[in-house]
């Protein structure tokens, strides 16, 4: 049973999301059904609750009840729905079975953005303290790191020393050069990686090969505030990187292979004195400018590329990975004729970060992705997102696909030609 104060507080959160675009999404669905087959979850599992329009309807009924005149006066007409504990359970089911891939949006004749509607659901769940606990803990950890980074800087830099030999093994440095520069004021480019060595070593080798004037961020790129749908935490996590970029006076912030990190940094930071690039864009630029050269013989086997939804469909980086792959292989095979309609890997929206709790669902809900990859006959499945890489690796194991799941940056680093 939900008390009045809780309901009022949650409705204030709902109202805070009601900008013009959101109202349009809430008022224009004609239930035409075009989105039915657009969702990988529905296409793989075939239940009505996974149709995009159905997910949206759960939010829309609350909107009709509390923010439309007819719903307030005559709630039995138009399927208005009371905000109750049961409604919150439905919101959870809808929001955390949606990866926010926006494939449904490109099919919708009105461009209704289900991911945005699910952001209302996620915010209400945060307000009711019903969100996945682990996502909030991860977001809070990121924020805490921003507050207390001075305490951890030295040990982090010491930890990076352990990686230097591996960086140099991929690209030999000249005397006086630093393998992994950190905290360099006046660097041109700030690279924001993830915690793992695999996110730092290949990138460092490529920056060094391209003679980039770069520096590594103290912070991880991923934004768990965005995954959990908490705008305040999303901004606090972003602000750490923005402050660091401004302090170091860099011209460009380059986000590692992490789809959400890139989209959020690119689209939510507003006007800044630096530009935001994905590492895939930067790598394509290095090849185009002749700053790095690649040896195609280092890639053995047919290659296909999974476009991460947050980098391709939702942020427009589509041509760059293909340009890079032209320089890595003569046997490249597309997953789909139109990359904007690519199937999601099934791991976005925080599902991979929720770990084994979501593993069974992630495997069942992404069988269409497996079929799509298998149809290419490729033996190497490249991608440019940590989330996608983790999910595709899980799918590879679960469905015994027999492909080698690779990060694009790792393939580039292994193919660098040192003249």
């Amino acid at each position: 049973m939900m008390d009045e104060k809780t309901r009022d507080d949650l409705l204030k959160l709902f109202e805070s999301k009601l900008n013009e675009a959101m109202r349009l999404y809430l008022e224009t669905c004609t239930r035409c059904g075009v989105c039915t087959e657009a969702c990988h979850v529905h296409a793989s599992m075939g239940q009505v609750k996974y149709i995009a329009a159905y997910r949206a309807e759960i939010v829309r009924r609350l909107y009709k009840k509390y923010f439309k005149g007819r719903g307030k006066i005559w709630p039995s007409v138009g399927e208005a729905r009371e905000l109750s504990a049961m409604a919150l359970d439905e919101l959870y089911e809808a929001a955390y079975s949606c990866t926010g891939c926006r494939r449904c949006m490109v099919y919708c004749p009105f461009g209704i953005d289900t991911q945005m509607l699910m952001s209302i659901a996620k915010l209400l769940l945060v307000g009711a303290e019903m969100e996945p606990e682990i996502l909030t803990l991860l977001a809070d950890t990121s924020i805490e790191k921003g507050k207390s980074i001075d305490l951890f800087k030295e040990s982090f830099m010491q930890g990076l020393k352990r990686l230097e030999d591996e960086v140099v093994s991929k690209w030999k440095l000249e005397a006086g050069e630093t393998a992994i520069p950190v905290d360099v004021e006046g660097a041109d480019l700030l690279y924001v990686a993830l915690a793992g060595a695999h996110s730092i070593i290949p990138a460092a080798a490529i920056f060094n090969a391209a003679k980039e004037n770069w520096t590594l961020s103290f912070f991880e790129a991923v934004n768990f505030g965005a995954f959990v749908g908490d705008p305040t935490k999303t901004k606090l996590i972003l602000d750490r990187i923005v402050s660091e970029a401004k302090r170091l006076k860099v011209k460009e912030v380059c986000i590692c292979e992490c789809g959400t990190a890139y989209r959020v940094m690119k689209q939510l930071t507003g006007k800044q004195p630096f530009k935001v690039s994905s590492i895939t864009e930067v790598h394509a630029r290095y090849i185009r400018e002749g700053r790095i050269k690649l040896d195609k013989t280092m890639v053995d086997g047919a290659v296909t590329y999974h476009d991460p939804c947050q980098i391709a469909r939702n942020a427009g980086v589509i041509d760059e990975p293909r340009y890079i792959l032209q320089h890595l292989t003569d046997d490249y095979r597309e997953l789909t004729d139109e990359p904007r309609y690519n199937w999601c890997c099934g791991g976005g929206g925080g599902l991979v970060a929720m770990g084994e709790d979501t593993l069974d669902f992630r495997m069942k809900s992404a069988s269409v992705k497996v079929d799509q990859v298998n149809a290419t006959g490729a033996t190497i499945l490249a991608t440019a997102c940590e989330n996608c890489h983790a999910q595709l690796s899980n799918l590879n194991d679960h469905y015994k696909m027999g492909v080698d799941v690779r990060f694009l940056s790792s393939m580039i680093a292994d193919a660098l030609i040192q003249s």
């Binding site: 682990i134 803990l137 991860l138 809070d140 950890t141 990121s142 805490e144 790191k145 207390s148 980074i149 305490l151 951890f152 040990s155 982090f156 010491q158 930890g159 990076l160 352990r162 990686l163 990686a193 993830l194 915690a195 793992g196 060595a197 695999h198 996110s199 730092i200 103290f218 912070f219 991880e220 991923v222 768990f224 992490c258 970060a353 929720m354 770990g355 940590e386 890489h389 983790a390 690796s393």
Partner: protein
């Protein structure tokens, strides 16, 4: 294993993708009693900032951090 700390459970987190080391430690520490100690083994340099920040957030305590050539070891006491 550290000579001066009694470890109750060891977690091998080497090579896991982001954010699994923190996810697994968050869940894993609940497998020991309050006051007991886990050893978390990582190869990620980012864990040197992630784990202390996680400990401050979750109310647990990092007793000691050791780095050798291959592995970073965190000795974490469950306080919460």
């Amino acid at each position: 294993m550290s000579d001066d700390i009694k470890v109750d459970k060891v977690f091998d987190l080497k090579g896991l993708p982001c954010p699994m080391p923190v996810v697994k430690v968050s869940k894993g520490i609940k497998e020991v009693e309050i006051g007991q100690v886990i050893e978390a083994q990582s190869t990620d340099p980012g864990s040197l900032t992630d784990f202390p920040a996680w400990a401050r957030t979750s109310g647990n305590e990092i007793l000691k951090t050791e780095q050798d050539d291959d592995v970073i070891k965190f000795y974490i006491k469950r306080n919460a």
